[in-house]
Symmetry: C2
Subunit: 218 residues, 2 copies
């Protein structure tokens, strides 16, 4: 990366952690429906954050994650008991980090500021990063809950500037989510799209500055 | 419907017209990929309207529809020639209305004001309704392009009040899109969800006032 980059900012869900590592538990609790439930759960989690942002009806990402889970189970004509909800939400606090994450963070930490910046509220973000043993590698854990404005709104990305006291062009923002990269690029960050799923570039006239298949490329 | 309803307002895409009536042409132009392209086209069309609303990067729904088509074709590793783009966008101006639409409109027209209210810009909305022979049944054709704010933002739904000079509780808003019903309910309209796809209710704490499987129930 160029000399102008002083701060490396990571998205969390899908970028540092595999959101589909809950699939096995979904399958155990809802046989033959695990993959569908996991897929809809993530899809609705994102959609509800977008819709609530547009409607001006904020609630925390933890609440949205519960709502999305409820929808996903209902869609498969199954019932979400409070016991299953508790197990699945607990599993979301123990997602698996991608294999290259620790090495990349340790390498970049020398001489740079590292932060995470997520739609997740601190009640789900802090335990996740703590339990994965990654907390000491980050200088800041930034949640959009501090502004109650979801990504990709400019007000959300602005939290990075407020927390880290940097200029936007000094930030390299990394996300596996194409829409998040579009939002960050629109805001003025330098961007690296971690295209883990070999997806086409989004057609939003906001191309990523860099594209890698995983974080090792950074 | 109750006596308090004076104005019947219809969403367009998916509610009056079947957006997947372009599937056959997709299949003809991209054999074996028609259904996938049609599905992703619609999915991305909605997602891009949400994302642009949140990023504050407005462009018309016609442009978004072209962008979404480009993504959908790319996702299937196919190429969208300008000839194919022209054909498919032209097909979007000739979507098929659902079979009950004309009867329902003719019945409701007696004594009530009827309007359409859509994310679609007038350059796609007006020819669509005209060519289906439905234009004379509506008192108003309202596009969010007049405010450049996509649904489900309150500023979009407010266009209905401005155009029709009614109070929000006098409006019955009908849509097949669960997210659109949530937005309309949040704004204060009475709502009827036309649940054509037998989907679960959205988990946004905004239940529809009525649910029907097609418009005949209204």
């Amino acid at each position: 990366m160029g000399d102008s980059i002083k701060t490396y900012v990571f998205d969390v869900y899908g970028t540092l952690f595999d959101v589909h590592s809950v699939k096995e538990l979904c399958e155990e609790l809802y046989p033959e429906k695990g993959e569908s439930i996991s897929f809809t759960w993530r899809e609705k989690q994102l959609e509800y954050s977008f819709l609530r942002q547009i409607m001006g009806k904020y609630t925390t990402f933890l609440e949205i994650t519960k709502d999305a889970l409820r929808y996903a189970v209902k869609k498969q004509d199954r019932t979400l008991t409070s016991e299953n909800e508790e197990k699945l939400i607990e599993a979301y606090l123990h997602l698996t980090p991608y294999p290259e994450v620790r090495d990349v963070l340790e390498r970049l930490k020398a001489g740079n500021k590292l932060a995470v910046f997520s739609n997740g509220s601190h009640d789900m973000l802090d335990p996740l990063i703590e339990r994965a043993g990654l907390a000491e590698l980050f200088d800041h854990i930034i949640s959009i809950d501090e502004a109650k404005q979801y990504k990709p709104s400019p007000a959300a990305y602005n939290l990075v500037l407020e927390n880290l006291n940097v200029r936007r062009e000094e930030v390299l923002f990394m996300s596996s989510n194409g829409w998040d990269i579009s939002g960050a690029k629109s805001f003025g960050f330098q961007t690296a799209w971690i295209n883990r799923g070999n997806q086409p570039t989004e057609e939003l006239n906001l191309k990523p500055d860099h594209i890698f298949t995983n974080l090792s490329g950074v």
